[in-house]
């Protein structure tokens, strides 16, 4: 799993059925102190996340299929949590910031 900032939204009217019209959010993988790391991704939201949140993201097929309850789903990147804070390297990173864009999750 990795940590990421939700930086945007994606609308894909034509999609494979397994995505089932779920909310798609644009992610910037980050380190606890907010530095960008890894590739920009699109994830299926399963934690009620919105733009401006820092989230926990599963990036592996079997786990994603378990979450979706669909053994044939061609999905692997799923948001599974909205992070309150992170304790890492003896430091505390508090992410409970108010939502910047007031996205009605």
């Amino acid at each position: 799993m990795f940590l990421a900032d939700v930086i945007g939204t994606v609308v894909a009217p034509i999609q494979i059925p397994e995505l089932n019209g779920g909310k798609l959010l644009l992610l910037r993988p980050v380190t606890p102190d907010g530095r960008r790391t890894g590739k920009t991704r699109v994830a299926l939201d399963r934690a009620g996340a919105g733009v401006g949140d820092r989230v926990l993201v599963v990036d592996e097929g079997n786990s994603a299929r378990g979450i979706l309850g669909n053994p044939k789903a061609a999905v692997k990147t799923v948001i599974v949590g909205v992070v309150d804070y992170v304790e890492a390297d003896t430091r505390l990173y508090d992410h409970r910031t108010p939502r910047k864009h007031g996205n009605p999750a």
């Binding site: 939204t9 609308v11 991704r41 061609a74």
Partner: protein, 100 residues
């Protein structure tokens, strides 16, 4: 999944049997600013997309699962036509073909 721009098509009539009837397209992965991210690659189009389109693709084993014939040797598959992608409040590219 990743955002990408479909930049072309690829035809390989002589190919592995599992790839029959699978549309192969050139895609350029895009980052949060809509700029090129990494190299272009060939993906199997699990949905109807064409050159110029903004799409989403998945890589790895999931790509084989997205194609009509599951477990075909494919490591990238287009799984969504993106009509709109907003990044940091700014739309990335345009979904429609030809509009950059």
């Amino acid at each position: 999944m990743y955002l990408a721009r479909v930049t072309g098509r690829l035809v390989a009539t002589q190919r592995y049997t599992g790839l029959d009837g699978v549309a192969l397209q050139w895609i350029q992965p895009l980052d949060e600013d809509g700029k090129s991210m990494g190299d272009q690659m060939v993906a199997c189009a699990a949905i109807s997309s064409g050159p110029g389109d903004l799409v989403m693709f998945v890589d790895g084993r999931e790509a084989a699962m997205a194609c009509p014939v599951t477990f075909v040797p494919v490591d990238a598959a287009i799984v969504g036509f993106v009509e709109q992608a907003i990044s940091k409040g700014v739309p990335i590219g345009r979904g429609a073909a030809g509009v950059s």
